[in-house]
């Protein structure tokens, strides 16, 4: 079958002009359907993260143990994150070179990387002493800083995600 797409000149165009990329881009329903799953997944990610962060900040569910809250929310955060990452990757592939020149897309990826680092530091450093403050309503500064950073970074991710949709035609 003749290809209507030009020869790719870089890795992002190769992705975009791949059969996967062009199938999603040409389909009438694939992109909106992936977006829809992406939205349901990301509100689950942010919703459950917010529940945990508000606990760490001492603003909600203060009488509940932090480890218990973590067990209740974290499987859903991760499950939904995987779903958002898969659908996000598929959305990306269909317009890879357009996204790669969009500053809001690059910011979104950077902010998510920072959120990941924040989570790693919290998990491997701050959380090691959780047995000392598990049931306390007011938590150590490290936990509060991690929760604040998490909320700010993820709100930034949501903002950039929306901004991408409003600036797609501007940068290429």
């Amino acid at each position: 079958m003749a290809s209507y797409y030009p020869e790719p000149t870089n890795i992002w165009e190769s992705l975009e002009y791949s059969s996967l990329g062009t199938s999603i881009a040409e389909s009438l329903w694939a992109f909106p359907t992936l977006e829809t799953i992406h939205v349901i997944a990301l509100v689950t990610v942010f919703g459950t993260i917010m529940i945990m962060d508000l606990r760490l900040l001492g603003l909600a569910s203060n009488e509940w143990a932090v480890t218990q809250m973590s067990r209740d929310t974290l499987p859903w955060t991760w499950g939904a994150f995987v779903l958002a990452a898969i659908t996000g990757t598929l959305l990306f592939v269909s317009k890879a070179s357009t996204y790669m020149v969009n500053p809001y897309f690059l910011w979104k990826m950077s902010l998510m990387a920072l959120a990941g680092l924040n989570m790693l530091y919290f998990h491997f450093k701050t959380y090691q002493t959780v047995s000392e403050w598990d049931a306390k309503p007011v938590l150590p500064t490290g936990a509060k800083v991690a929760a604040t950073l998490s909320l700010v970074l993820w709100i930034g991710v949501i903002f950039c995600g929306r901004a991408i949709g409003f600036t797609l035609g501007i940068y290429y």
Binding site: P32, V39, V43, F46, M50, S61, D72, F159, R162
Partner: protein
């Protein structure tokens, strides 16, 4: 499905909603939303954050009712934590949604998907009120060891599915066949 929504939209175009949408387009709030590039995206960010808060709270209560999470707390304790968040979230969802509506009245009011979304929202609110009242009453009557029956569990998942359907409509307003 496309034909159904196309037909619905064609019918909406014949109603007073078209004039109402034109009127909304002349308001000062519409100008404010349209002339500021970031107004609509920011309203959408507020919408998404509020949905996350409301959906997250709904999910946690559903998991507790089904004994899938939060078992260390009683249902009334879990309900007390999350139910206010559902309703506060709804207030912010409605405010941000209204801002998006006034920014693009024709795109929403003359759109079958938008009205199906509104109908689903109304149904969800009514079922949620009934569910929350029943859960609290039953848990109160049966004490801390209350185990939700099949009907309550099914209803709790129905509410989660309705939230998802509302989100599906929310996304597809932009792709509606008009």
């Amino acid at each position: 499905m496309g034909d159904f929504f196309y037909g619905l939209t064609e019918q909406l175009r014949e109603t007073f909603l078209l004039d109402a949408a034109f009127w909304m387009q002349e308001t000062a709030l519409n100008k404010l939303m349209v002339l500021n590039f970031w107004a609509v995206p920011l309203a959408q960010v507020m919408h998404i954050m509020a949905i996350a808060a409301g959906f997250g709270a709904t999910l946690m209560l559903t998991l507790r009712v089904n004994n899938l999470a939060g078992g260390a707390r009683t249902v009334p304790q879990v309900a007390g934590r999350y139910i206010p968040w559902v309703w506060w979230a709804l207030i912010f969802i409605v405010i941000s949604g209204f801002l998006m509506l006034i920014a693009e009245p024709v795109r929403n009011m003359i759109n079958g998907v938008f009205w199906v979304k509104m109908a689903l929202l109304l149904v969800t609110v009514l079922i949620t009120v009934a569910f929350q009242n029943a859960a609290r009453a039953q848990a109160h009557a049966a004490g801390v060891a209350w185990n939700a029956g099949g009907g309550m569990r099914l209803t709790s998942w129905l509410i989660v599915i309705l939230w998802c359907l509302i989100m599906v409509c929310g996304r597809w307003i932009a792709y509606a066949p008009v």
